[in-house]
Symmetry: C2
Subunit: 279 residues, 2 copies
């Protein structure tokens, strides 16, 4: 049985259409801004679905309140499906004195949930901060499915070596070649970015990544691919954390931009709901 939080409302209709049973939940706010939660069903096991896009902190606290309400009602086994996990990029101390923010949120959710499922988290190693079973779900099949026909016998590229595993997963679904961009200093002031060991001439290219915000890297990559004679250029990203104007800028630079619906955006054309139903 699914319990849909504020960050899962945009997934609810499809979840039901595909056969997911949901428990009725009242979600609201008191006049002073405090969240109000009420869970109307009962049972033993529940899967709470809520993505933690902005306002992130409200959705995080709501997940705690829903967990508390379900425990109070006697639910014994609680799973949290958090398609986009807020603070996942704060996965290390970059400057002394910073927190590992993702750790704090994982620990807090661990107070109420026995299992955590997230999609394509920025750094999968951070799942160890969750005190119980935590699973990183790949959206590779969904992204591959969306681009299969458009891409033809194209190439899948990661914008950097760190994202190579994501490109590999999508490419293997499609039976295609994959590689990544690398940065190379070509003069004291210039850095060149180019795809490694792969010829994109006359080929369609899909660039994949976990998060897109300003889209700067994608726009740069697209320019280089065009210069190298690539045919059509597609961008397929898991989480669309778009900065102001980024959707328009990236859309103009490539043939098509599509992200999954872990965050609802105008280009969230790829659904992760079928994957949620398989968990």
């Amino acid at each position: 049985m699914f319990v849909i939080g504020s960050g899962g409302k945009h997934l609810e209709d499809e979840l039901r259409e595909l056969g997911g049973e949901t428990i009725k939940v009242e979600l609201g706010k008191f006049p002073d801004g405090e969240k109000y939660v009420r869970v109307l069903g009962s049972g033993n096991e529940a899967t709470v679905v809520s993505s933690t896009f902005a306002p992130q902190d409200e959705k995080i606290v709501e997940l705690l309140l829903i967990g508390d309400a379900l425990r109070e009602k006697g639910f014994e086994r609680l799973r949290a499906v958090v398609p986009y996990f807020a603070y996942s990029r704060q996965d290390r101390v970059t400057k002394e004195g910073e927190p590992v923010s993702v750790r704090a949120i994982m620990k807090a959710l661990g107070l109420y949930y026995d299992e955590l499922y997230v999609f394509d988290i920025h750094n999968p190693k951070t799942l160890r901060y969750f005190p119980a079973k935590a699973v990183n779900v790949s959206p590779a099949r969904a992204i591959a499915g969306y681009f299969r026909e458009k891409l033809g016998d194209g190439i899948v590229l990661a914008p950097d070596k760190g994202a190579l595993e994501r490109a590999r997963a999508v490419a293997e679904e499609l039976g295609l070649e994959y590689s990544h961009f690398e940065k190379r200093r070509i003069s004291p002031t210039e850095v060149e970015m180019r795809p490694v060991d792969v010829d994109v001439t006359g080929k369609n290219v899909l660039i994949v990544d976990d998060i897109i915000s300003t889209g700067g890297t994608m726009i740069k990559a697209a320019k280089i691919l065009k210069k190298l004679g690539a045919e059509k250029i597609f961008v397929g990203v898991t989480h669309g954390v778009f900065a102001e104007g980024a959707i328009e800028r990236v859309s103009q630079a490539v043939n098509e931009l599509a992200v999954t619906n872990t965050i609802p955006t105008p280009v969230s054309k790829i659904s992760v709901v079928p994957e949620i139903l398989k968990l």
Copy 2:
């Protein structure tokens, strides 16, 4: 050493003037809305001060991030001073399916803090949800001090029996009489509210309570006291969670309205900082 969170900024100057040493903290937000925290000092023990008024959830998450940063820096003993504790009125299940919200927040703070200090929490029994030492600090001395001269040989009243303990604490600081209002049904449609076992004729009266929001009860109480011949009427409340227009409406109905600075408002004339320094 004090670490001041977003909900403690309004207390920082006074805290320092009265001799409190503070550690430098950077607080901010990333473009996507996630909180950024950086603690610049180091040591073994720290007291984090942050009141959780609106936006409550942001301040709650920030307290977790500050806690994580301090633990990461090797601080071994962390105290949280949360003068106004959000969700403290959600202290029981009123309708089936609701959470005990205050429990969820207490448990979350318990992940990082060894001691919790709150001022005049709505239901002191909820402190048991904090997994370690939790203390309810009374603002009675501060409120009594502010009204001592204005009140003279007046009377301290609680708006209902549940708040009597608060009235007693303030009255004892002042060496004055105290009592409470009670509601009595005088016809099928009318409820009369009146002070119990006390004669307010010609006396100044101070009404005290933990939280004021719409101020409806206070305005009603003031009307009754005037009708009964009370002299000056004062309202002294701990937490000013004012609804739109409430400050003006209450101020017009009484001789003076003053709340403490657990929440910064235009009438937060009573400081709890001296009490914080004594913890």
